[in-house]
Each structure stands twice: as C-alpha cells, then as structure tokens.
Symmetry: C2
Subunit: 396 residues, 2 copies
C-alpha cells in the first residue's frame, strides 16, 4: 500500500501553537496579568434567538413519528436553498437557481473538497499572505502553487498581470488575514482574466456580511461574466456565529463549463458520493438566520463586531500606524510600529500591554512586519486593549 507522499510536503503551521506557547511562558512568569486576546479568529457572541428557537423546534420534531427526518437531500433541503437564493437577491441583487446552491457543513470543507473535481495538473494561484487552507489542500494533491504578492503597494489586493499562468485562482474578499476587499473595478479585471484564460476563480466570501461599502461586491456574481468562471464559497460561521453549529453553502453556476462539462454536475456527483447532507435541525437554524427576524438579529451581532473594528481602526489611525481592513471586515491588518518584525511586536505587546495579536508572518512571507487584530471580543475588552496600546505607544 502506497501512501499519498504529497502529505510530506505540507509545511507544519506552528502559528497558533507558537502563540499559545509564548502566552503560556509569559503567564508562568506573570500569572496575575490580565490578558486580552485580540488575535482570536472565532466569533464570541451566542447564537441569535431565532436560530436557537429553530434548533429546538426541529430537535423536538426529530423525536416524533411525523416530524422525524432521515436522510435529507445531499445538496441541502429546498427550504434552505430557497432562503439562500432570496438572501442573495436581497443583499447582492444576484439571481441564483436552486440547483446551483449546495449546502454543506462549512466553507472550509467545501474549499478543500472542491479540488476533487480538478485534475492534479493545474497551476494554483494564491495570495501572500494567505489563509493556509488554500495552500495545504493543494500541496496534499501535488499541485504547483504560485503566490500573488499582497502589500501596501497594491492595497493588499493582488491583480492579474501579463504572463500570469493560473488555472485555479483563490480570491478571499473581504480578506483573511488582511481585511482588504476587492471593489467592483478590480474584481472585473479578475473575471475578465479568468474568462480569457479558462481559469476558475474560487471566491471565498465568508466575510461578505461585514461589507458596508456599496462599491465592494458581496458576491462575485455581481460582476458580469462571473457565472462562467467562478465558484463562490460562503458560510454562516461569521455571518451568524455558526462556527460551532456548522453550516455553509457553495455556489456552482450552471454557466461554469470546462472541457464541455458543467462543473455543477461534477460537484453534485462529488457531494452525492462523499457527503450525506447537513443535520436537519442545523439547516432549519440556518434558514431562520437568513430571513425576517433572524436576519435582523444576526445583523445586530455583525454591527457589534463592526463597532469593535471601528474602535480598533480609529486607534491605529490616531497612532498613525498604517493598516488595512476594519471597515468591510472583522480583521485589521496593521504595520508593526518602529519597523518591528511580527513576532517581536507580538512579544512586546504581550509583555507590556498584555494584549495578544496574531503575527502576520504566520500567513506568509509578505505578512512579515504586520500583525492581525480581530473584532471578535467584547466591547469592554476591545476598548481596554486599545487604551493600553495607546498608552504604550502614544508619543509625547
């Protein structure tokens, strides 16, 4: 039996374990320090009432003869796919057909599993810094990877360039980790490139609900031509606090055809063969979040995080630290002061302000000299963390 040797080429990510280790060491010296975690990539607010009510109601149904649900459709229940279609129509003006929508247990699963339908012999383009899953999943499959540099020079929004060879292109907008978001004009150029070259864009829209700028598309399908070149991944994780409830959705438009075959049909085949759908109560809860009262409730939570982001962004503006994100995103990507390297600044912030951030160098070479802050904390903690940072770094 031969193992998949490509696994030996995956670089171990020590980022979060190293963060934990340094925090542990620090606390061993100064156990009384009141730490504030500003690097956290997970939501903190509870599920909204509509979601909880729907979960409970569906769970009760599952205990009755008449309300019990066994195997559901692998692609997701019609009631949820219709709700997602309505959500797209309302938030993006995008019209989707029900058979283009695939419900899953989360965007991370789909972003990895979608690669099943592509040949090993494809060149993959990712940005640097990058969400590591895009890289690792392709290394596992033995694909060649090219990196697109995201720096202050291009507003952290890499663009296609003459001579770029890329069959599969990952775009995450609003971006994790940088918080930068593609506007309409820039996204049009990517769609044009993909259609001209027969590439496929894998568009990670996990943070779309944080967008408030009307110039920033919430769905790539707002761009003309995207239906023939893009697959979109989205999730209720950040939109509705579903990181522990697990529900996402992937859009594969009917117009996306390669080698004469609808990718929608290939993905359907993959999902019906290797997946059995999402729990009925979870689908009910997801549907409850994306309409009516539930939508109002999740928007309240998003507004809460966005206000935290504003407080962080305002602090960095005051300190004159260059940063991106914080407006259409829960993430703020900030240049370390005094030309410090990512880990040096991390250590200083931990030691002197007892604030934990995420070192940008952990997301790729271009992340060196940056750190990531997130808005997933309480208002009080966010204000206190920023007070400490201002106290420490304000001049005069």
């Amino acid at each position: 039996m031969k193992i998949n040797k490509n696994y030996q080429n995956i670089e171990e990510t020590y980022l979060f374990s190293e963060v934990a280790e340094r925090v542990r060491k620090f606390m061993a010296q100064d156990g009384s320090a009141s730490l504030i975690k500003m690097g956290i990539g997970d939501v903190t607010r509870p599920l909204c009432k509509s979601a909880v009510d729907a979960l409970i109601k569906a769970s009760e149904e599952m205990g009755t003869e008449s309300g019990f649900h066994g195997y559901g459709p692998e692609q997701g229940y019609e009631f949820l796919r219709d709700t997602i279609a309505d959500y797209y129509q309302e938030t993006s003006g995008v019209k989707l057909f029900s058979d283009e929508i695939f419900v899953s247990d989360g965007a991370k699963s789909d972003l990895g599993n979608i690669l099943d339908i592509f040949d090993q012999d494809n060149i993959v383009a990712v940005t640097d810094p990058v969400y590591p899953v895009y890289v690792d999943t392709n290394v596992m499959a033995g694909r060649k990877i090219v990196k697109l540099t995201a720096t202050a020079d291009n507003d952290f929004l890499p663009m296609p360039y003459p001579g770029l060879q890329a069959d599969i292109i990952y775009l995450c907008s609003p971006n994790n980790p940088t918080g930068a978001a593609y506007d309409r004009t820039r996204l049009e150029q990517w769609v044009k490139f993909a259609n001209a070259n027969g590439s496929v864009i894998l568009f990670d829209a996990a943070y779309e609900s944080f967008i408030s700028d009307p110039e920033v598309p919430r769905s790539i399908y707002e761009i003309e031509g995207a239906r023939s070149c893009a697959i979109e991944f989205c999730s209720l994780s950040k939109t509705a606090g579903f990181t522990g409830t697990r529900c996402g959705y992937t859009i594969v438009p009917g117009g996306l055809v390669r080698d004469g075959i609808q990718l929608r049909k290939m993905w359907l085949r993959r999902q019906t063969t290797k997946f059995n759908g999402v729990a009925y109560p979870v689908q009910k809860a997801a549907a409850a979040c994306l309409k009516d009262q539930g939508l109002a409730e999740i928007r309240e939570n998003i507004a809460y995080y966005k206000e935290n982001a504003r407080i962080i962004a305002d602090t960095f503006t005051e300190l004159k630290w260059p940063f991106t994100g914080g407006v259409n995103s829960p993430y703020i990507w900030v240049r370390c002061p005094k030309s410090m390297k990512s880990w040096a600044f991390f250590d200083e912030l931990l030691a002197k302000a007892n604030v934990i951030c995420t070192p940008g160098s952990g997301f790729g070479e271009c992340g060196e000299g940056y750190v990531r802050f997130t808005s997933f904390n309480t208002r009080d903690n966010t204000i206190e963390a920023m007070r400490r940072i201002k106290e420490l770094y304000s001049e005069g």
Copy 2:
C-alpha cells in the same frame, strides 16, 4: 483549467431512480394500490428521548454567553471521544485511545475522504455485490479496482485467495446489501492477509449494533493484529437513527504505520485541513445515545428493527427461499423464486403484492437473481407485506 477526467468513468447508478420510476408508472395505472416499501435503506423511528433532550439542552446553551461554543476540535470533543471509547470497551472489549477516534458527520463522508491519504497507484478490492460508494470514490481517483465475488458458495463472505493483489480492501460487516457478517475465524484470515501484504483494510462497521451472534465481531479490533492493518468506520445513522442528524466516527489505530508514517497522523492532518468538526449539539446528542439511558433507548429501537428482520426471515424460511442476513443485520438478501431475475421479481412483487424491494442487480453483477429487503418499516407494514408475499407464493 483541466477537470478531473476520472469523473467520466463513474458509472451512473440508476438503481433508486429506476425503482422510483417503475413505482410511479405502476401507481399511474393503479392509484388505489396500498404500497409497502420494504426496500427502504433509511431508518424510520424517531430519535430517542435522550438524544432529543441533549439536542435541546445544547441548543439552549448555544444561545447563552457562557454556554456558547465556537470552533470545536476538528477531531471531535473529548466528551464524545471518551464516550465512544467506553462504548467500544463495553460492546467489543476493545480498548481505544482517545487520539485514535475521529468524530465526523458520517461514515459515508469518511469512507470517501480517507482516500486522500492514499496514493492513486493502489489496487482496491471490493466485494460484488457492493455498497456503490466504495467503487465510485475510487473511480473518481483513478484507482484500479478488483472485485471479490460474494455468492451463496462462500456464504456471501469473500475470502483472500492465493495470488490476490489488493492494497486497499473494503470489508463491510454486517454487509450492505447482503446482511452477511464475518465471523471471527474468517476475519482473522483477512487480518493475516493484510498484515502479510502491507494492505490496509477499510472496515465498514455501520451495522455493528445489529449483531447478536457472539461469534461475529462488532469491531475488527477484536481480532489480534487488526490494529496494524485496519481502519474502522462507524456511524450513529443506523445505531441511533442519526441519518438526518449526521454523526459518525472513524478509528485509525496508532499501530497502523505505512512507509514509516502513522496513518493516524495523516488522517488528522486531512481532517484539520479540510474539516471543521461536527456541530456541538449533535455531538452532545451522539454522546447521550452511547451511554446510560440513551443506550437503553437506542437498543429498544434496534430490537424493534431486528424483530421486523426476524419476521421477514421467517417468511422466507417458510417459503423455502434461500436468503442471508436478517439475524445480525437489518438487511435480508433473498434469492428470487422461480429463478427470476432481480428486476422481473421486483416488477412481479410490485404488481401482485404491491410490495417494493430493491433489485440486487443494482449492487453488482453477482447481485443478479437476488433482491434486498430491509427491516426499516413499521411492525404492521412488515407483517402485512409478508402476509401478501406468503399468500402470493405459498404452494398449495
């Protein structure tokens, strides 16, 4: 961009759509017929009270600041993995370590996804008849497949033979579709073969909870040597009626090493990269089913289905129709009377008894001349279906 061309080699499975189509046509002619579905592969009894209570309690927690759960461990919560370890200890006497247990959204997902860790260049052995997922997932990856014939001659339990070349071996016991189950002696031979040849057995134990014969192992790890050659897949789908609630688990023993690498570590890498764990309320419900009161409740449901299976098996014994299964399995695999072919018997049964079964030929060439009955129906329907069959086929 190049698509995965292997997808073009997957044979379309028309089995269940063809069943539905023939039923539709029949009902269009005789709309008043009272059909009984005896081919159904899905559970029908509601979730047990302990599961529903746990789902509701965990859902309520998710709506509170203090009880909210965000991202959980990809491998599953410790509380569920510990419960699964205890369940193994109690039902099989098998001792598992917590880090060998991987919680997932179901056995079907894991049976497909596990192939990620194997090279394309492996020979795969499946039985004929076969659960189609084993074949399709390997065709998608372009692997060579050999078929092991399961007929009355070998009690529907294929065995290794001299010269057999197989790197990856699928064994499903108790079997879907035949209901046949490997006893200890036979399973020992497979473990011996795998260890001697460096093969890996993928052991699908989804129906283990239906086993009552002490000579039939509920886990392959009851066999000495299995920890160095077998991965076991199990699920709460049939054990606890979780087909619509979605929770399974996969065991990759620490002793399973190939090319100097622990497969457990590769699978952990796969899961942390392409999966984000199972919903917290679902894991709570699963844990509730596998211990104490919950275990008593799910066993009541299994006993209900097993009594249905006995009623079906007794009918075929009375009719002198050769069959397998029905004792350690919810499935009964029966030879069609009068040497009929699978579809001919299906049609006759539909037309004359208004009973629906599943044609065996849909599971592989060796399934021709057989049909599958299942015990996933109400007691009344099962009794009535058997009454009609006896009336139709009893001699004299």
